[in-house]
């Protein structure tokens, strides 16, 4: 077994287990627009890895937010709603949105359900969850602390646990 960080897993194109490729691409695209840098550090691989784990080992922030497991459906339905609502508004795929269009769309979804957003958790809630996931993977690592000039001061170094994807 070789342990990889989400960024390494992304770089080596490790196959997804819980997400399909389209879902992973949507997560990376939207997540990176909300938290710049999230795609590069492997947001979709991080979420995929956590969704693949048994509940006790699933460390997604969603477990704090009164959503009972399994969590796969939460992401799947939200991503479908996201894609549908973007298409309804712009007649484009999410990947085709300009930076300005994506900013406008996120501004709407953080406040209310955009038109076409249905059969899914509320858009503002999904925004909050994905934003938190993206902050976790982008800013929750020792390297990220270092980049913010924050001393990590670990008692027990975390590199052998959540960051590792076998």
């Amino acid at each position: 077994m070789v342990n990889l960080t989400p960024a390494q897993a992304k770089e080596r194109k490790i196959p997804f287990q819980a997400l399909n490729k389209d879902q992973a691409a949507l997560i990376d695209h939207l997540g990176d627009a909300i938290v710049p840098g999230a795609k590069k550090v492997g947001l979709s691989h991080y979420i995929d890895h956590q969704l693949s784990a048994k509940h006790a080992d699933n460390l997604l922030i969603l477990r704090y937010l009164r959503v009972n497991p399994p969590f796969d459906g939460f992401y799947a339905s939200s991503l479908t709603a996201f894609e549908r609502a973007v298409t309804r508004k712009y007649n484009k795929n999410p990947s085709e949105l300009t930076e300005s269009e994506m900013t406008d769309f996120i501004t709407i979804m953080m406040q209310k359900n955009p038109e076409g957003w249905n059969d899914a958790p509320p858009a503002p809630f999904f925004y909050f969850v994905l934003r938190s996931d993206a902050i976790d993977v982008t800013y929750g690592t020792m390297a990220a602390f270092d980049s913010l000039d924050i001393p990590y001061m670990a008692h027990i170094d975390p590199t052998q646990t959540w960051e590792n994807i076998p």
Binding site: A33, I34, V35, P36, G37, H55, A56, D57, L59, I61, R63, Y64, R66, N68, P69, T103, I106, M110, Y127, F128, R131, S132, I135, D136, Y139, G140, A144, F145, L148, D149, I150, P151, Y152, M153, A154, H155, I156, D157, P158, T161, W162
Partner: protein, 520 residues
Amino acid sequence: MSAFAEKTDVVIVGSGAAGSLMAAKLSKAGKKVIILEAGPERTLNDLISSQINARRLKWSGEPVQEKGAQPIGNVFNSGYGTGGSALHHYGVWPRLHTEDFNVKSLHGRSLDWPITYDDLRPYYDKIQQEVGISGDKASEIWRPEGDDYPLPPVPIFQQSEIIAKGFKNLGKRTSPLPLALNSRDYKGRPGCLWDGWCDAGCPTKALVNPLALYLPEAKKMGARVIHDATATRILTDNSGKKAVGVKYHTKEGIEVTQMADLVILAAFAVQNPRLLLNSADGGLANRSGLVGSYIMSHAAATVFGLFDQETEPYMGATGGQLLNQDSYDHKDQRDSGFGSYQWMIAQAVKPNDLLGFGGSNPALFGKKLTEFMKRAAQHFGGMTGCVEDLPLRENRVTLSADKDKFGMALASVAHTAHADSLALWQAAKAEGVEIFKAADAVQVWNGPLGPMHIMGGTIMGDDGEKSVTNSYGQCHDIDNLFIAGSGLFPTSGGVNPTFTVHALSLRSSEYIVKNWSSLT
């Protein structure tokens, strides 16, 4: 498949703050003690410094269904595995105030405790000597009578100094926050390094979690902890007036009958009533009909700001560095609402997680978020108001129609805060903003209402028709069945509950030892 375990003197359900302390004291008194812990075994080596790993310590047992306008946040506020929620608690240990014990007598509303502050004071004093609280009694002018803290106060970092000026400029006072966290070496446990990893569990034992003190003591005296053991039923004799043991399921699916002379439920405020309600038609020890009622959760009033000065927001303890209780006593003299609150000032924060500075302002995204993260890493400040939650009978744990894998009904918890508690929370938030402005914050904002701590559900009282247990946690209906922990609280006060949980558990332990013959 089923099995019978050898009978023991005491079986305790739950290995958290209350369970581990009572196991230590009863073992020391010569009792054979078995602790049933629903979650997995955890050791100090599992307490990894990461806000993401920290989530592993939180509740991941059977789902709890939450309802109401202000749900209690069971997963975040509960623990799972050795040490329960105390394994990830922040060690903020103020005492309840005298007024908290007789709110109904004084104000004609809320509830009374069956004891006074004076009854509990010796136990607060004993516990703080055993554990080692850091603080400064002289400057903590709001504190009720009691011994001096055994350890000097925790150090003050820049974030505290900056925010304290805001309090001072408005004529308000601050003192060191009393923390069950060593400001220097104490009884073989080291001083804290002020790294702010309390939420992830403290592996150095500077913060007194159950793995640092009471569980090792209990084990040394012969107590045994059985992990992955989910209690499903309290067993009674044919009369229903005497507890004879507990049924539990192992991870492998074996149903074990553990007979015992005395049973203690220390599985926290939600799972204790769930177990009682599942143990008999209409609930065990439920003459009052109040098993599950009066669930409370403090409303967290969060205030955040950015300052021109560098604040070192990563330094210190997760619970904070300074305290203000100017709005605590005289619960009826608030400008708005009713009750007490305190400020815990200058919490050490990390970039990520619910309590991280990245989550403090969810409206920020894209480039603005990137700029904010860089600035906040060095210039962020925060404080949290712990706002009293008035007890309401309709805020309660009931049984869901849904069942777990053992056929046990899940817990459903409804919680909607009293209008006066919400008004007090609003007033606290507004005061916090004024304080930060007076500290020259260049930006100030509030967070949404967050539930903090869980209390009630099996309240104590003198009257068996109006409460579940007496002041020792002894069930009114079953002499040898005890309940321990914050579920006993009839009122929440506006302080963190863990010190009081320890004091009550010590008092109950001494009562059990003294009255063992008549109880069993």
